[in-house]
Amino acid sequence: MLAVSSLISTSNGREGEMESFSLDLDGFSLLDDIDFDDIFIGIGEGDVLPDLEMDSDMLAEFSLSGGEESEFNTSYSNEKVEDNERREEEDRGSGSGSGSGLTSNLGEEIVSKRHESVRVNSSPKEGHHKGRKSSKSHGKRKMKVDWTPELHRRFVQAVEQLGMDKAVPSRILELMGIDCLTRHNIASHLQKYRSHQKHLRAREAEAASWNQRRHIYGGVGGGSKRDLTSWPTPTMGFPPPTPVPPFPRPLHVWGHPAAVEKPVMPMWPKHIAHSPSAPRPPWTPPPPPPTPPSLAQPYPPYCHPQHQLVPSALTPGTPCFPPIHAPTRFPTPAVPGIPPPLAMYKVDQGIGVSSAQSHSHPPFDFHPSKESIDAAIGDVLSKPWLPLPLGLKPPALDCVMVELQRQGVPKIPPTTSHA
């Protein structure tokens, strides 16, 4: 540790000298002696992304000059011992292969201002990212931070306290008050958190619109492939680096035979409280945002308790009913919230029937409401290209035409207004 600080202090004074190094690439032959493995030890710490500004700081710490290499080697030899064998091999391969490239890069790094956020050629570093096991705690080193749920919770708390825009790493650090976290840890975690939140919001919005669609068109005929990548449960709980798979249409959820075997449900609409076995992302956000108008809910678990007893309070338009399940013998949907809504639906109809004694004109709004029906119908009229929700076999056109003519409707579409 002392070596580090001395390094830095000396390097401060030596910036002039370093510049001269940069101009003369031959002078970098000295740098070849430096073991590049050691240089990047700290950089590869688990929670560091290549594009964070801390890279330059890291490099500044390890700033090179010809004479320092021996100190380097001694001070970090400890680290090296702890490294995995395979990592060394990896590093060696990459280090030697790109040695010259590295050299010039590093030269530039040295020259560049210490606080400028410059990115080192990421290729040598990639090998270093995974599995850095440096457990030594040097004040200036970036320890691998294990973002436990508890830790993350505190982080989120701090962020919320500050407000998403005002959440600056330094303040978050203060609020969290945890010693072994550095500002950089927080910064990188914050970056990931923000992008995750953005994804979540986007998914939510998509889910909301999809769910609305689904209620209108039903999930039976959808039959879309469920492409869900199950939410990984890494220790750190970050989304996979690959782009998140497109949000799968939740049509399956309604009990499509193929989908219901395992209760695969989209994790994104997190207001589904009953996601059974799907691993919960560690970033389960604080209680789901107050439910937007219930239309957005696929299964509003909160819906049925109140509604079974007080049918009159049933909000029209609450899409608490499943589409037809019997015809294709759908198994009971995996989500427990579904059957009760059906019961609720029955109740509704019952009341309608008993009081009105007629089917077609219940005194109060059938659920679903006129508005939702109207919306659905309007949708169909305006977008004829949409697939049929049920995918029923269409009748032969001739048959229909003949039948219609028999009924006294010669022209289709009818020119006269409806009766």
Binding site: I324, G350, S354, S360, F366, P395, Q407
Partner: protein, 103 residues
């Protein structure tokens, strides 16, 4: 000419399917389509019948559900009314007992 009829019939079928998603029976469907989409009930009816012919099983099952819904409706309705009346009696009891206490 033929095309427009075909697409019209297709549209009606689409609308009917949408109504079926809403668990409507034929009459309700005719009603809804006539109201919201200006489809002549006779047309709805015809297309419905034709669809039924082509998709017998589906509609049989569908009718069954609807019937079940309606049958159990009576039971559920009764239960609801029961509960409601219980609630009201409880309320009366409570209020009377309250008065009692106050006195």
């Amino acid at each position: 000419m033929g095309d427009s009829s075909a697409s019209y019939i297709h549209m009606v079928q689409h609308l009917i399917e949408t109504c079926v998603m809403f668990h409507m029976n034929e009459d309700e469907c005719m009603d809804a389509l006539s109201k919201h989409a200006n489809i002549m009930p006779v047309i709805t009816h015809t297309v419905w019948k034709e669809l039924e012919k082509e998709n017998k099983e589906f509609f049989e099952a569908y009718k069954k559900i609807n019937r079940e819904d309606q049958m159990s409706e009576a039971e559920t309705t009764q239960k609801i009314l029961q509960i409601l009346s219980e609630n009201s009696t409880t309320n009366t009891i409570n209020s009377s007992s309250n008065i009692h206490h106050d006195a």
